[in-house]
Subunit: 490 residues, 2 copies
């Protein structure tokens, strides 16, 4: 046993327990908290997050990292990733961090009101503060060329605005061209939407679905929240949520499968990594690759709908006249629409590209907060060809910015790209469609475990992708996947 | 504004946020946590409780208390109660505290297993450790005559083993004599037990009951746990739980009313006291006086059953042939039984007296851990006249001891006594029965607020009782209440 590394690990494990409390406080705030408990919860979250920040930037941790003397690849990764985070956090003064946490919390609350009232002006002053503080944090963190790089690096180590711009510009062209192709064909019938199904029946199906996918109930649970999310609360304890919209069955189903993907990743990271710098997913993009893998590549495949068809129509006899192929087409309708979270696999990335371009401009002071609604609507029409009728369907739809997350949005599209590349590699070794159709998910999970989950955050995303697929992230796999699915099959 | 006191308050408010996290972690552990998340949760609780302990015993807090310079009664109480707690905590070495938290958590887990297997031996070694550590804590805390005094003082300031012994011996004689009287009469029919009512219907009624009592849903919620409890999680956020046993409707109803009483007290303490040493109930006995007031004095009164009768039989038509008087008699059946939590208002105190005598002997080294089952059964037969058939129905029924709580049990009986004394005072000013029958609880709550809730923990329990009733705690009120209810009316 390596005494220096052991001391370091114990220090991290102590921090992890406070982070566990933060996660539970957050989860409860989104699920069960009585309404009037909200303001005090915000204060509690700020206080304990502040303490986690203090522990994560302490001289003690610095000394432990310096003297750790790692002996193998895993220990080296702990120290390397640990130092990386320590150095980054240390650049941010505690006071700035606390101001940022407080301003983001207040801004997210104001956003709720602004969204309800469909009025950007109501959140504008709060949001200005958040953007200013985020710019300040970017300055403190430092960067070579682009302030935005300092922020995206938190979510996707090694990624830069330049790399994303190149990638996204190629993706945009591809998307617009395939979209034009698809729009020439006759659209599928959206048989699953508009049918009233009460929350109880939806819940029953979603719970069945989780069992079918093999969600370990001794280590996780499904609840309801306004915005679906996944929170790893502690070791062997992950919470996922979904939402039930009575005339939109697809919404809860794909939210549940999506969050299942996040939860599976989190629960599959080796227990001995728990609480350490390597004890999480490789990056936000990688995390998203797993939610999208299960949601889209598995959940929106024809094989999957063949596999669940019998159970599906048993619980929902109102759809019994549709076969698996019709249901599958109905969950894959490509259509320009306003809301990101409801977008199909193709137009989804246009929503992200727009957000990336706007937030990039915001952080680099090329866009003013007050001009966001106009800029949004202009870009939206340019990329998605739709006039945005209201801010609620436009720049007020997502909480991310108002909660202070800049550099996060690209993770979604990176996740889509990664998931297709992972699919390509997996398909070389396993009969994916057959396994999915037969509901034999264990073999798929084992492959993902071996290649991805068991590695935690030992490798940077590019390195991990090379290990999985023999090449760095490559957009071609996504293009091939989409073409095969939409040009030929649907 | 008094700068010294303000700094002290801010320090306490910081501690309160970590305590809030501890409360939520505990609540979740009893309600929603996935099973495998348990062990890590125990570690998380120990870590954060340890940090709260550290903050509560810091030199910084000591200095703040010394230099506070309070200017009025409230500020004086903050400093007085704060110093009291600080001095007590400081006597316990951090290492001993952590050993105690860890040993109690492990012992409570072992107790679950022992109870399930009906085998005291399975918990005995863990429990020995807990008792030893509790004795050590009592020594560290210090006392004048009796080590047990050091422990009970945590729950009921100013109370001693000697005072309790005197009180309980009088109460025991009274109880045995009235019990003999009652047993001469013909027993009421237990019409509410043994009828199968599923959890959903029970829940519906309990939720209605909370609305009827005026439970503020924006500040609290009702969930399910194996042992009903109340946890104040944060400012304006209190959680209560109940349990649904299909053939025992009374169980959930009276648990819910009981916990409502605790929650009402907690939510009614002035907001500006929150997180401060005076920001809780006056004592555990006083807290219990409120749960018992609402459960027994209100909930088990004829007036209450007259008031709810129509709604009750509407939801439970299987009982529609019984009038309010019959239902009332059914929830007041006096019967010697094994389980404390299911005992009636009269025999309940015998269960407590037995526990007090045994734990008193344990802490004073007059009883060995290994002899507990035998001693329990012997005392039980002496006091309740029943042969205990198994440890599960005997010394393994309650979690308190195994979780390390010694000196806590007397609070239950003190709560019963206090509640009757409070009732006597309240009845001089308000037509209690009439208000209860009409479901007009606001007037009752206002009175309780003015006399009790608004005072937080400014006064010690004896002083507060004098302010409420003009005399110190006096067992006569309980005797009068019980006599009037059971000798004459039932």
């Amino acid at each position: 046993m390596n005494a220096g590394v052991e001391m370091l690990k114990n220090y991290y494990r102590r921090i992890a327990k406070f982070s566990s409390a933060v996660s539970l406080l957050y989860w409860d705030m989104q699920t069960y908290i009585p309404k009037s408990g909200g303001p005090y919860r915000a204060e509690t979250l700020a206080e304990i997050s502040g303490y986690v920040f203090e522990l994560s930037t302490s001289d003690e941790l610095g000394a432990l990292l310096e003297s750790a003397n790692p002996q193998d690849e895993v220990e080296e990764a702990i120290v390397r990733v640990g130092k990386r985070e320590f150095d980054r956090f240390r650049k941010i003064p505690r006071k700035l961090f606390e101001e940022y946490v407080k301003a983001s919390t207040l801004c997210e609350q104001a956003w709720q009101v602004a969204k309800t009232n469909n009025n950007f002006k109501l959140v504008e002053p709060y949001f200005k503060k958040v953007v200013e503080l985020s710019r300040e944090i970017a300055e403190k963190l430092g960067y070579e060329i682009d302030p935005y790089d300092a922020l995206i690096d938190q979510f996707e180590p090694g990624m830069t605005a330049q790399k994303i711009s190149r990638l996204f510009s190629e993706l945009r062209e591809f998307t617009l061209s395939i979209l034009a192709e698809i729009e020439k064909a006759s659209p599928a019938e959206d048989v699953l939407s508009g049918v009233e199904i009460d929350a109880e029946r939806q819940k029953k199906f979603n719970e069945w679905l989780l069992d079918y996918l093999g969600f370990d109930r001794s280590k996780g649970r499904l609840d309801v929240s306004e915005h679906p999310f996944t929170t790893p609360v502690g070791l062997n304890d992950v919470r996922i949520t979904t939402r039930y919209i009575s005339d939109d069955l697809k919404n809860s189903i794909f939210s549940t499968i999506h969050e299942f993907g996040h939860a599976l990743y989190s629960l599959s990271i080796p227990e001995e990594f728990y609480g350490l710098p390597i004890g999480s997913s490789a990056s936000y993009g990688f995390d998203e690759s797993q939610s999208r893998f299960w949601e889209n590549i598995v959940g929106r495949s024809l094989a999957f709908w063949r596999g669940i068809h019998k159970n599906f129509i048993q619980l929902f006899p109102e759809f019994s006249s549709y076969d698996a192929h019709q249901l599958w087409r109905s969950v894959n309708i490509v259509k320009r629409s306003y809301i990101r979270t409801e977008a199909d696999e193709i137009t989804y990335n246009l929503h992200i590209i727009l957000r990336f371009e706007l937030e990039h401009a915001l952080i680099n002071r090329e866009l003013d907060v007050k001009d966001i609604p106009l800029a949004w609507n202009e870009y939206f029409e340019k990329y998605l060809g739709l006039k945005v009728p209201s801010d609620r369907l436009g720049c007020l739809q997502d909480p991310h910015w108002y909660g202070g997350s800049f550099g996060y949005f690209p993770s979604y599209t990176l996740g889509n790209l990664y998931s297709a590349q992972i699919r390509a590699s997996l398909s070389k070794e396993l009969p994916l469609d057959q396994l999915v159709e037969e509901g034999k998910f264990e073999a798929i999970k084992s492959w993902l475990y071996e290649k991805i989950y068991s590695k935690g955050r030992i490798y940077e995303p590019e390195v991990l992708m090379e290990k999985i697929s023999g090449e760095p992230p490559n957009i071609a796999h996504f293009q091939n996947y989409i073409k095969a699915k939409f040009e030929h099959a649907l």
